[in-house]
């Protein structure tokens, strides 16, 4: 019997396995660093969110390790669309795997501008960050204005030159927002971003992060992510989904795919387990598929819905 196939099709992107570096992690446009993710087994990378203008992000502290997950508020540091386009071209030229450009902004105009600036660099797809929990006027607050949100997705899709556009959603019930994104031209959905969170130091007696609020990631949020993916998959069974949230092992990845994800984003595990975590997940999935009698990993996608 031949070894089971790990290849998946994600909105037309051919992935050698279902693991993708999640946005914001290893979040500089460095060909050398992102190549390490590729060598570590990642089948695609999503870049840090790029905004129209440069952002320095927040002052330290920007992250805390709670053991069961991280709480971070970086403040979307990025060099701005113009500079990012230059650096992105270098990344696209260096990597053999698909590169998905993370994009963000506070309006339809911003999104159109960023995608237009980056499209020439040749990314394979875009991911609109509609879910950052701690930057006011950006990320999740895009969802507060349904009209602006739809316009933003359509502006991104319109400027993407036919490349797939994913929309990254926050945790919780986002079936309605997802519907608006799809109506506006999104090719797929990424779920979930971090969970809005805060850590207060009991000796300093103030919030630790300089921004106050941040986003919780890691194993703590995995069941919430599975629930979100399951709901989206139930509502939109034919839409490509990337499941993100606390995936660290092949078992986590298999669970996310059974819930309906065609691929899984891996973020915090890169720090917790090392950059080789992608390959570890892929190898574990292969062994699982073989022992359970599957011929392709894509047979897992959404299988938990067919009771």
């Amino acid at each position: 019997m031949t070894a089971p196939s790990l290849e998946v099709d994600l909105a037309g992107l051919r992935l050698r396995n279902p693991t993708i570096l999640a946005s914001g992690v290893l979040g500089v446009l460095s060909p050398a660093l992102l190549s390490r993710a590729q060598e570590g087994g990642a089948a695609a990378v999503v870049t840090k969110t790029v905004t129209p203008e440069p952002r320095e992000g927040y002052d330290n502290p920007v992250a805390v390790d709670l053991g069961f997950g991280y709480v971070n508020a970086m403040g979307i540091p990025n060099p701005g669309a113009e500079e990012a386009a230059r650096e992105l071209a270098g990344v696209v030229g260096s990597l053999r795997i698909p590169v998905i450009a993370g994009v963000g902004g506070s309006s339809a105009r911003d999104l159109g501008e960023v995608v237009s600036a980056l499209v020439g660099a040749g990314p394979d797809a875009f991911e609109v960050n509609a879910s950052c929990p701690h930057v006011r006027g950006m990320g999740a607050s895009l969802l507060d204005d349904p009209r602006e949100f739809s316009d933003a997705v359509s502006a991104a899709a319109g400027a993407a030159g036919g490349r797939p556009v994913f929309v990254k959603l926050p945790p919780g019930d986002q079936v309605e927002a997802a519907g608006r994104a799809l109506d506006a031209g999104a090719s797929g959905l990424t779920a979930v971003n971090t969970v809005r969170a805060m850590v207060i130091d009991v000796y300093a007696r103030v919030p630790v992060l300089s921004a106050g609020f941040g986003g919780l990631s890691g194993p703590a949020i995995r069941p919430a992510a599975v629930a979100a993916v399951y709901s989206l998959s139930e509502a939109y069974p034919d839409v490509p989904l990337v499941g993100v949230g606390g995936v660290e092992t092949w078992r986590d990845a298999a669970e996310m795919m059974l819930a309906g994800a065609s691929a899984v984003g891996v973020g915090s595990a890169v720090a917790r387990r090392g950059i080789g975590v992608f390959g570890e997940i892929a190898r574990g999935l292969a062994a699982y598929l073989e022992s359970e009698g599957f011929s392709s990993v894509s047979e897992l996608v959404g299988a938990a819905h067919r009771r």
């Binding site: 330290n60 992250a63 000796y203």
Partner: protein
């Protein structure tokens, strides 16, 4: 579960070592369990958080050598015994002494701080240690007596010849290499000095490790802000093997600003704008944007 939330630390003693460089002795609830070369993030609530190398650790006490660089280090310099700061760590990877019988330490400026902890750890476990220390001038020479106590011999160098030999730490190291063989060379200091050390000392010992200092944000290996040639200084480093840095075009040449954009050396002509705190972290014990250069040599402690 390994977690790295902050722990409160009481400042027991502040000792000025040189203009704008002081040594801080801190008491923690319990020991950090750090290895030489690892660092902590020092948080001053309301001000910020900066990476500082652990200079030494003993029981519940930790020593940090801090150069005044930005808001957090300035706040530390204004603090007094009895004040409290908050530490998370130890973070990153330190030096490896495994299998080493005789080591040469090469450092410049406040980059000497993490090597002091290494010298003490090494000599305490039977490793013979020699140290080549470089500073701009006698006034800026720090920790010389401490290295003397933990080393077989120390060669001091200053750029202007006001103490020790005239020259750099790398010059001093070359001199020490003339008469002896070492199992390992450990270097820490400003990046241009490390580039020089790589160029001139690589191959002189089977093991060669360097401690780097870069802008550090999360400190956990997540955000990528400290990347240099594919390595995350906060988690793959701050101590990296020389072979990981061979052919690295960014070393001593390209840094990243807070937006992640490649830029010139922070604090010098090529940088953009004023320093913010996380730039040029005190990881080398506080090497930094100051252009600390090493100098030549004379045997201070035979």
């Amino acid at each position: 579960m390994i977690r790295s939330v902050h722990v409160p630390a009481e400042i027991l003693e502040v000792e000025p070592l040189a203009p704008d460089i002081s040594s801080f002795r801190l008491a923690l609830p319990s020991g950090l369990g750090s290895s030489p070369g690892q660092f902590v993030m020092v948080w001053v609530p309301g001000v910020g958080e900066a990476p500082i190398s652990v200079a030494w650790e003993e029981g519940r006490e930790v020593g940090l050598v801090v150069a005044r660089r930005g808001s957090v280090t300035s706040a530390l310099h204004s603090s007094s015994p009895g004040d409290r700061v908050h530490l998370r760590g130890p973070l990153g990877r330190g030096f490896s002494l495994a299998g080493v019988g005789r080591a040469l330490l090469v450092c410049g400026g406040y980059g000497c701080a993490p090597l002091l902890g290494l010298a003490r750890r090494a000599s305490g476990s039977g490793v013979e240690v020699d140290a080549a220390l470089g500073f701009r001038s006698a006034e800026l020479a720090i920790l010389v007596g401490e290295f003397g106590a933990a080393s077989s011999s120390v060669l001091l160098a200053t750029d202007d010849g006001s103490a020790g030999i005239r020259g750099t730490a790398v010059d001093a190291a070359e001199r020490m290499l003339r008469g002896r063989r070492y199992d390992a060379i450990y270097a820490s200091g400003p990046e241009p000095m490390l580039v020089e050390a790589l160029r001139r000392l690589r191959g002189a010992a089977p093991r060669f490790q360097l401690s780097l200092e870069r802008l550090i944000r999360c400190g956990l290996g997540l955000c990528g802000a400290c990347e240099v040639c594919g390595w995350r200084v906060c988690s793959d480093g701050p101590v990296l093997d020389a072979r990981m840095l061979v052919g690295c075009p960014d070393l001593g040449v390209t840094w990243r600003d807070r937006t992640g954009r490649p830029t010139g050396r922070p604090g010098l002509g090529g940088g953009r704008g004023e320093e913010r705190e996380e730039r040029g972290k005190g990881i080398g014990g506080g090497k930094g944007g100051e252009g600390v250069r090493m100098g030549g040599g004379r045997e201070v402690i035979p």
